[in-house]
């Protein structure tokens, strides 16, 4: 009880030492990314797209006068709604769904040719895409009406959505041209007689918000491309001289027929005395456009700027996604190819490192407060099939570690105590006291199999080998987070390590199980305190000095993995930041010659790509997943995501098979992928922040339960 309280007290300052941006910055980045995608999807009418159309219903609630009245309906204010017709000898041409980059300019040219005015009912997404056309429409003196942002059937939409559709379109219009419009036409509408119990409430709702609704007298159906003559006939008033509001389209497909029909119908009607004007003027009203300034104007400009930035950023994001996709799949391909090669090479019956290595070796066990685990660690060593000397270096433990070790009084086990000064120093102390030329290093919480030491030192038969890396296994794999790390370790040791071994540039000998030649250690100057990942630092130093570092798959060591996300985070932060430090420290290898240069030009870039770049971009997968599922095409997105998962599963399955592990834990893979991607991304960003702000990281010790020591057969 008192111990756990002490631990809690000790952990408190550590929590404060974490940079404050740990969650905020990464989360904000991801959310910004998602928002960017959304905005761009809005502009291209990809998100919130709703192509459903309602069927018409009864007309019980529609004021009867409207059904037989004119096409322009003003239901604003408390009185009865009024409807208006175009005055005699006026023709109000209206163009819906635009502006369009091809057809709108042609229509504007024709209109200018006959000095005619018209009305364009524009959608917000098109406004955002073609601001120049809106400016030209206004400069030519035409009128602009609103046709919603995404062109949905408003009778199917909620109040909130309708409000949003209108407000967003006004926002775009303000940003593009500094104007608002009070004229509105609902998508999928026709003449006033078609009003029904579903559409009338929409008209009324918008009237309450200050909009006049403009229906039509005649639909030319030009979007069906019925032929120029049909469009001309439809646009010509049945009663010569009567006012007319006509519907045409300037977007949504080939509008050549519309343009051609205009060229015929306009001179003909003008010669009959018709005046071509805007909807507002045709019913004898003033303009529906109003100037916008101040906050609304800047708000509009901001929206437009962001929308354009979003459209602009999209290709870059796709490129990044392609990069990370290539990296991920390239890595899998490379790993599969090289690990197959490695496994076949080292598992061949004739394979041998040379004459068997039987000389006695020194095992160094650095221990800092390892009372839960140390006894099992040492017991496992006394079972070793290889002659060993064990040196426990007590790094100023404050618990019972020393007493437990001395109480065991195991033959061949020595304890050296030093004041607390870190793992690297403890290992250097051990190296100084070691009596043999081969030195095995392990952690105080790790358990060896009887054959581990023997397997680990066999490669030293080859005089070029300076260090060997063993196969670390997760003991506490029963919990979810343990299972995740189990999968990760099996893949890491059976795919990554074999790949690096084949390429001759293993970046890390794990601290939990590794062996070194004393000369190689001394040449590298022992363990260094320069970085947080002393094992990676040392391994790179060996490469630079021209030593070979190899992987021994049968040298298994059982270790206790972090049991909570917080601890896992701390561990990975240390590894990640330490690796970055070590890479920076040995960056000179890139230009070196010989084996050092090979490591610098193959190993370092690979580590940089796979450990620093790829995880930083990996959340793009999930951002696109969320965006795709929620806003675009769920089945397609899922299929793509599942494909990636299956590839990962195949790789993981192969790794498990290589390691003779049962596959059950692989059911945790899907969730593991999701969580790990985010975790590694967060850890990497935090490492970068630390690197750039020069923050220091203190030693973080795992909270031990001693779970790995508990034997299974209960």
């Amino acid at each position: 009880m008192s111990r756990s309280r002490g631990r809690r007290a000790a952990s408190r300052p550590r929590r404060r030492a974490v940079p404050p941006l740990r969650f905020t910055l990464p989360t904000v980045l991801l959310l910004t990314l998602l928002a960017t995608l959304l905005l761009r999807g809005l502009v291209t009418n990809e998100v919130f797209h709703d192509a459903r159309i309602n069927v018409s219903v009864d007309k019980d609630t529609v004021p009867p006068a409207l059904l037989t009245g004119g096409p322009v309906i003003d239901a604003r204010g408390p009185g009865d709604p009024k409807s208006y017709r175009a005055e005699d000898h006026t023709m109000a041409l209206t163009f819906d769904d635009g502006p369009d980059e091809v057809w709108t300019p042609q229509i504007l040219d024709v209109l200018a040719q006959y000095h005619a005015k018209a009305t364009f009912f524009v959608t917000g997404s098109m406004v955002t895409r073609h601001p120049d056309l809106i400016r030209r429409i206004l400069a030519d003196g035409h009128e602009i009406g609103l046709h919603t942002f995404t062109h949905p059937d408003l009778t199917l939409q909620s109040d909130r959505r309708i409000t949003w559709e209108m407000a967003q379109t006004q926002l775009a219009l303000a940003g593009v041209a500094g104007v608002h419009s009070a004229l509105f036409r609902p998508p999928y509408s026709s003449d006033a007689s078609a009003l029904d119990d579903l559409t009338w409430p929409v008209v009324k709702k918008l009237a309450d918000r200050g909009y006049v609704t403009a229906f039509i007298d005649e639909d030319t159906d030009d979007w069906k491309r019925p032929g120029v003559d049909a469009i001309v006939a439809a646009a010509t008033p049945k009663q010569p001289g009567s006012g007319h509001i006509v519907l045409m389209h300037d977007a949504g497909g080939d509008r050549a027929q519309t343009v051609a029909a205009l060229k015929i119908v306009m001179p003909r009607l003008q010669s009959e005395g018709y005046r071509f004007t805007t909807v507002s003027e045709s019913v004898g009203a003033g303009t529906s456009m109003s100037k916008v300034d101040g906050f609304q104007l800047w708000e509009g400009k901001l929206f437009l700027g962001l929308a354009h930035a979003a459209v602009f950023v999209m290709p870059a994001l796709i490129v990044l996604l392609a990069v990370v996709g290539t990296l991920v799949f390239g890595r899998f391909a490379l790993m599969l190819f090289l690990s197959v090669k490695h496994a076949r090479r080292t598992r061949r019956r004739t394979f041998s490192w040379g004459p068997p290595v039987t000389e006695k070796v020194t095992v160094l066990v650095p221990a800092y407060n390892e009372q839960e685990c140390i006894a099992n660690t040492l017991h496992s060593l006394t079972d070793s099939e290889h002659p060993i000397e064990v040196i426990v270096i007590d790094d100023g433990s404050t618990d019972d570690t020393v007493a437990i070790v001395e109480g065991l009084a195991l033959p061949g086990v020595r304890v050296i105590s030093q004041p607390n000064s870190g793992k690297a120093t403890a290992l250097n102390t051990g190296i100084a006291h070691a009596t043999h030329d081969l030195i095995v290093m392990m952690d105080g919480d790790t358990v060896f199999e009887p054959s581990t030491v023997r397997e680990l030192v066999q490669p030293f038969a080859d005089p070029r080998v300076g260090a060997t890396a063993g196969n670390a296994k997760v003991g506490n794999r029963d919990s979810l987070i343990g299972a995740w790390q189990h999968i990760e370790y099996v893949m890491g040791f059976n795919l990554d390590r074999r790949m690096y071994d084949e390429l001759g540039c293993m970046p890390t000998v794990p601290g939990a199980v590794g062996a070194y030649r004393r000369v190689a250690l001394e040449q590298a100057g022992g363990m260094s305190e320069d970085t947080l990942a002393e094992d990676t630092d040392l391994t790179m130093a060996l490469h630079v000095n021209g030593w070979k570092v190899v992987y021994t798959e049968n040298a298994r060591a059982w270790t206790e993995a972090p049991g909570s996300i917080g601890q896992l985070w701390s561990q990975r932060y240390r590894w990640c930041y330490g690796t970055m430090q070590a890479m920076w420290k040995h960056r000179g290898a890139v230009l070196a010659s010989g084996p050092a240069g090979r490591f610098g030009r193959v190993g370092l870039p690979l580590v940089a790509l796979f450990m620093v770049l790829a995880p930083l971009l990996a959340p793009l997968f999930d951002v696109f997943l969320v965006y795709g599922v929620l806003f675009v095409d769920a089945p397609k997105t899922f299929t793509a995501w599942l494909t990636v998962l299956v590839v990962q599963l195949v790789c993981a399955g192969y790794a498990f098979w290589l390691d003779k592990e049962k596959p059950w834990h692989l059911i945790s893979l899907p969730l593991q992928q999701l969580v790990y991607r985010q975790l590694m991304y967060l850890v990497l960003l935090q490492s970068w922040i630390t690197a750039l702000t020069g923050g220091r990281l203190r030693w973080q010790k795992l909270k031990r339960t001693g779970e790995v020591d508990v034997p299974v057969a209960v």
Binding site: N376, S380, P450, S479, K662, I667, V710
Partner: protein
């Protein structure tokens, strides 16, 4: 069975038994084997959370709330686990005991609501039943094997109860009806669960599928009984399975690895469907969706089950309220809907204050103020009607069982 449940944990023979090591390994005992003393505060916490969520849902009608926390599934699972624990005693005394705890609070509600509705003019006329049938059906307020009847609309009491107060009063009773059936069928369910657990556990959900496909049909009153059983039967039995230690047969990583994906698929299916009115379907509209989501959610909650013998530090400050809600759970559940109705009606009176109506209509329109008002009213109900729970449990009745901390502890 001596073999490990999880293969390949450690290589055999690699490790010696920890002779000299103090056993500090995590406690992985099954709930059944756990030491008896003390309540599991985790379950108390879940029950309180479920109750608060129910009140929020009935006030705000947010359709996403049942997704965030499926209260009813959680409550049935907790009850099922208690029932399984009790069933080590003789069956009939256990059922009698459960009913004795459950029904008196209902009778107290009925004693007030039924005469109230009758006084407001509720009668056989227009109920679709004969006079004898009408009075006979009132027996459902005594033993709710089907949903108890109620009057609708009623004149109401201006500023306190609206026209639908009968419906509000009787609305939550479906939970007691379902609970009653679960209690009655528990001995059978437990026996089956012990014999063929992996067949009976999903059986109610499978029956939901059958009903969804329209293969079976019942009269409306019967339908709601069957539907309630099918929707939450799996949750109830899941609570029993938890109590029986069935869940800890899996390695801990298994359930959280699979269940979220099953839940996601079912939620996706549910939200993409259409309800009876042709609108977009939410969780409350679909028995199958509700059943699967609740089952998965409860499964995760129980699989995680941290078993708190004492309150975690962060929850300590709420401990009193959680205990209060737990000891008055039935009262709060039975009366909260009337409290909410009263809160809305009372707050509606503010529209008669012109200064407020003209200047802050948005405030008077808000649901949050009635929400704040509803909690003291629920407190009032606890004081007025909660004692019956103590009487039913053969304890000495208390007005407001907020646990009083000893003086020394209160100073901190």
């Amino acid at each position: 069975m001596t073999a490990p449940a999880h293969p390949g944990y450690l290589p055999p023979g690699a490790v010696r038994p920890p002779a000299a090591v103090p056993a500090t390994g995590p406690v992985t005992a099954t709930p059944a084997a756990r030491a008896k003393p003390g309540r599991d505060r985790y379950l108390d916490f879940l029950r309180a959370l479920a109750l608060v969520r129910v009140v929020f849902l009935h006030m705000f009608a947010w359709t996403w709330l049942p997704i965030v926390f499926p209260s009813m599934g959680v409550m049935f699972a907790l009850a099922g686990s208690l029932m399984a624990r009790s069933l080590s005693r003789p069956t009939w005394s256990v059922i009698r005991g459960r009913l004795r705890r459950l029904l008196p609070p209902l009778w107290l509600l009925g004693l007030i609501a039924v005469p109230g509705m009758l006084l407001q003019g509720w009668s056989a006329h227009g109920s679709g039943h004969s006079v004898a049938g009408f009075w006979g059906r009132l027996a459902l307020w005594v033993l709710p094997l089907m949903d108890p009847p109620y009057g609708d609309p009623l004149p109401g009491v201006h500023g306190l109860l609206d026209h639908a107060w009968g419906e509000h009063a009787a609305g939550p009773l479906w939970y007691l009806r379902a609970y009653l059936w679960f209690v009655l069928l528990s001995p059978l369910m437990l026996a089956l669960l012990r014999r063929i657990p992996w067949l009976v556990l999903p059986a109610p959900m499978l029956f939901c599928v059958v009903m969804q496909l329209g293969y079976v049909d019942f009269r409306p009153e019967i339908y709601s009984v069957v539907d309630g059983f099918a929707t939450y039967g799996s949750c109830w039995m899941l609570g029993m399975a938890y109590q029986e230690g069935l869940l800890s047969r899996f390695p801990r990583y298994v359930l959280p690895s699979i269940v979220p994906f099953v839940m996601a698929v079912s939620l996706w299916w549910t939200l993409n469907g259409t309800n009876d009115e042709g609108g977009p379907q939410n969780l409350e509209d679909s028995s199958l969706g509700q059943a699967v989501w609740s089952f998965g959610f409860v499964l995760l909650l129980l699989a995680a089950s941290p078993s708190w013998d004492e309150w975690p530090p962060r929850l300590k400050r709420w401990a009193g309220w959680i205990s209060l809600l737990n000891s008055r759970a039935v009262t709060v559940y039975l009366w909260h809907n009337l409290a909410i109705t009263a809160a809305i009606s009372l707050f509606g009176l503010t529209w008669y204050v012109p200064v407020l109506a003209e200047n802050v209509p948005w405030l008077l329109d808000s649901d949050w103020v009635p929400m704040l008002l509803a909690w003291p009213l629920i407190g009032l109900c606890i004081v007025a009607f909660g004692w019956i729970e103590d009487v039913a449990a053969k304890r000495s009745p208390r007005l407001f069982p907020y646990p009083r901390a000893p003086r020394s502890a209160r100073r901190r």
